[in-house]
């Protein structure tokens, strides 16, 4: 589309939205439902302070020097209609590709939705998922720069109170150059879910989905060209249409809950570990068993993934073009050093198990135990974690947490670093929170990550002082106290301090933060989805508000 048409489309959309927003004010003679307007704004501004010692020297440190990301979301409801629009700004932004700087702004999301009795119709952009999302999930996670919104049309029909069918067709929003456009591959899908009440104490929630992706001619031409360049015995006929399907169910009986899901995928051209196209079907087996009663929660999970690479095209890599949502089946840690090593899911194949127990022997004490293990389909160990923490509330002023984590991490596989040793860590950690009075509190956390691999051992300490409800200031330092470096590492072989000072101010629904931050390079995860990011060094300002 020529740029002037694109700009015109954006202007028309904005004017339409403003007109619809203003509509009630000019139509007072007709009885009508009162419209409801809401929205939010988020902005991140970063100023880059080059630090070659930690590897903070990507293009934004060398050339652009500062960047801004911002999102303004507006939503208006009236007469059963819902109008949404979001304006996105990326200026010199490394958010989409941490190694690069991206410039672009425009309407990143727009939607018109209408409820008609039991039917809901949506056109424009939408987020959605089928079941757990392993065959289809459209979602946004702006912290790691992903936006898998589908642009198209969706219908959802509640046939009975227990039976819902939904279907959609559209194109996934692109990344990088296609951020304000869509991938050319068409996606469509249908999903049905039903609840069966088998008895007073037993229910069964069942669902099934089918998702189809059609390759465009250009992509298929590239695929065919590449296949034709292979030796004859390795050539195959690729398919334009790929079908992924699943069936899942949750059986709940008393305190127990059993979940099982099978996902399948017809054969298509996907890239193997060496980057070569192969013709392969895919499958996922996933199950979990949960037990909960007051004071005790137990959850066991199992997942086996076999060549379940479901993307808009086989040439999309990393977090680009993902249609299937395959989160890691490991604990999602929040403390800085505990979250340093994460098991990025291996879509070409892995088997993972996880067990989680939360035990509350008395109202003041909670004990959490977690264990997980991931291996490749050939039996190579990829990741394991053993975790325990104890939280105790001594009195109204004082509570504390202490724990220990043990990690095994196959860095060669997860970060594609040939020759790197497996990482073994021991990480004891603790946190205390002391409330001086209703307004003033102090939180102190500390972790010590001991390892002889990767970059070596780290100590991290954070002191956070809160003055409710407006102010918060935190000072932290993560010290690479026992450095270890591989040959060719871009990190200086010395004791390095990754310190941060961050202040926050909250007023009503707005929050401002300003900080000077040094952050180690590594895998950054949110919601179980991860990416490798370079180090950060510089000033970061954030603003979030709701209205």
């Amino acid at each position: 589309m020529p740029p002037h048409f694109k700009g015109m489309r954006h202007r028309v959309l904005l004017l339409t939205f403003i007109a619809l927003w203003a509509f009630p004010a000019f139509s007072q003679d007709k009885p009508q439902e009162k419209g409801q307007f809401s929205g939010n704004f988020q902005s991140n501004v970063q100023v880059y302070d080059r630090d070659d010692r930690i590897g903070a020297n990507t293009t934004v440190y060398l050339h652009e020097k500062s960047s801004t990301d911002a999102w303004l979301f507006l939503n208006y409801n009236i007469y059963g209609f819902n109008f949404s629009v979001r304006y996105d700004v990326f200026n010199n932004s490394p958010l989409l590709n941490p190694q690069d700087a991206y410039n672009g702004h425009g309407i990143g999301f727009w939607q018109i939705s209408k409820d008609i009795d039991r039917l809901n119709l949506t056109v424009g952009s939408f987020y959605d998922q089928f079941g757990t999302g392993m065959v289809f999930r459209a979602y946004e996670d702006r912290l790691i720069g992903i936006d898998y919104a589908i642009q198209g049309v969706r219908a959802r029909y509640r046939i009975t109170d227990n039976f819902t069918v939904k279907a959609f067709t559209g194109n996934q929003k692109g990344n990088n150059a296609l951020r304000f456009s869509t991938y050319p591959q068409v996606i469509k899908g249908i999903n049905a879910e039903n609840r069966f009440k088998l008895s007073e104490k037993v229910t069964f929630d069942a669902g099934a989905s089918l998702v189809n992706r059609t390759l465009d001619k250009n992509t298929m031409s590239v695929i065919a060209t590449e296949i034709n360049s292979y030796p004859v015995e390795e050539r195959f006929v690729p398919k334009y249409n790929e079908y992924a399907y699943n069936a899942y169910g949750t059986l709940t009986f008393g305190n127990f809950s059993l979940y099982a899901e099978y996902c399948g995928k017809t054969s298509e051209a996907i890239k193997d570990y060496s980057g070569k196209l192969i013709n392969s079907p895919g499958s996922i087996y996933y199950g979990s068993l949960a037990y909960s009663k007051p004071g005790l929660g137990v959850n066991l999970q199992y997942k086996r993934i076999d060549h379940f690479q479901f993307r808009t095209s086989p040439f999309e890599t990393l977090l680009n073009g993902l249609i299937a949502y395959l989160p890691s089946l490991t604990r999602q840690n929040t403390y800085r050093l505990l979250a340093r090593y994460n098991a990025v899911v291996q879509e070409l194949g892995e088997t993972a198990i996880q067990g989680d127990i939360v035990f509350t022997p008395n109202p003041k004490t909670t004990i959490s135990v977690n264990g997980s293990y991931v291996e490749s389909l050939s039996g190579e160990k990829l990741f394991s974690e053993a975790y325990v923490d104890v939280q105790h509330k001594f009195n109204k002023q004082f509570k504390a947490t202490a724990g220990l984590q043990r990690i095994f991490y196959n860095q060669e596989v997860y970060e594609n670093k040939p020759g790197y040793e497996n990482v073994h860590t021991w990480t004891p950690f603790g946190e205390i929170t002391y409330k001086f009075d209703r307004r003033h509190s102090l939180r102190v956390e500390a972790q010590y990550l001991y390892t002889k691999q990767d970059l070596g051992s780290f100590i991290n300490g954070t002191i956070e002082f809160n003055v409710a409800p407006h102010y918060s200031i935190s000072v932290s330092d993560m010290v690479n106290n026992q450095p270890y470096r591989h040959a060719g590492s871009n990190v200086s072989d010395e004791i390095i301090h990754y310190y941060s000072v961050v202040g926050a101010y909250t007023i009503k629904t707005s929050r401002f933060t300003l900080g000077y931050i040094k952050q180690v390079q590594g895998v950054n995860c949110t919601g179980g989805v991860c990416r490798v990011e370079p180090a950060f060094s510089g000033v970061r300002f954030t603003l979030t508000t709701n209205f």
């Binding site: 039903n194 001619k217 690729p238 334009y240």
Partner: protein, 288 residues
């Protein structure tokens, strides 16, 4: 109600699964011909050849303005001797323009159809590509014939990254010509490059529609793409593309008895892969 629900969902799934049969892309499962030269090695870096431009004329026998475009191609060729190779593509698409006249020859080939699908089907005919280049300011590779001359002149000034020579042509039997092509790089490239070898035929007499005239029964058709010795998008040059890299490849061109070899040309060209597609250099020689 239960049966209604099941029927509803079953119907939806059936609809979603319908049309599972699809026309696959072309994948070449033929075993490489034994005994053909297919080698690459390092040699001296050559002096770049004078650039040869590929002008693809997307045309049809029922296209009333196509004779004007063909005349333009002829003029450009005449103005640049041995520097422009014309290839007339008659696809199956746009059949309003390309379906043969009653009793007339059928120039349409699957190769032309595949190429036009790769470069983008134009809204009508005549259109053409100049080195399959997507020129600055253009929204498509296919250009109106009035633009061809300027674009060809622009392409002629470009130094080719590789020299192409058709070093051998040998008629093995009545239906086979053994063609030897040598490609020598004088610049490095990290892109994927593909070598295509095709056969065109000229001086074919047959009906052609023309604006203001109707059907000309004895129109002379030139540069018709008859067949290719490679896939429609060529064969990949599988080695590091660096100055001095030499590729020597032999191909068998299968010819039909009704084609007049004395009027045929062998065309070889090197192009980038999808999505760029740009033709980097070309060469042409008589088939006999």
């Amino acid at each position: 109600m239960k049966s209604f629900k099941l029927a509803f969902f079953g119907l939806a799934v059936a609809l979603a699964f319908s049309s599972c049969e699809e026309e696959p892309p072309f994948i070449d499962f033929s075993e490489p011909e034994q005994g053909l030269v297919d080698t690459n090695y390092m040699g001296p870096v050559p002096t770049p050849q004078a650039r040869v431009v590929l002008l693809e004329d997307l045309t049809g026998v029922r296209c009333v303005n196509c004779p004007d475009a063909q005349q333009k191609a002829k003029d450009i060729e005449a103005a640049n001797p041995n520097r422009v190779v014309v290839m007339g593509l008659h696809p199956f698409s746009l059949s309003t323009f390309t379906f043969p006249h009653s009793g007339g020859p059928d120039f349409r080939t699957q190769y032309a159809e595949d190429i036009i699908n790769m470069i983008g089907i134009p809204t009508g005919l005549p259109f053409g590509t100049v080195d399959r280049q997507l020129f600055s300011g253009e929204s498509s590779r296919t250009l109106e014939y009035q633009k061809w001359e300027a674009k060809v002149n622009s392409e002629l000034t470009v130094t080719p990254v590789a020299n192409i020579d058709i070093t051998g042509k040998q008629k093995i039997d009545d239906s086979t010509i053994l063609v030897t092509v040598k490609v020598v790089y004088n610049e490095a490239s990290t892109e994927n490059h593909f070598l295509s070898v095709s056969l065109t035929e000229s001086k074919i007499i047959g009906p052609q529609s023309k604006t203001g005239v109707g059907v000309i029964p004895d129109y002379e058709h030139n540069h018709i793409l008859r067949t290719m010795a490679t896939a429609y998008n060529g064969v990949k040059l599988n080695a590091a593309l660096e100055p001095g890299r030499v590729f020597e490849k032999q191909f068998k061109l299968r010819v039909r008895s009704e084609w007049v070899l004395a009027n045929c040309h062998i065309v070889a060209y090197v192009a980038k892969g999808v999505p760029d597609l740009t033709v980097l250099n070309a060469a042409q020689t008589d088939a006999e």
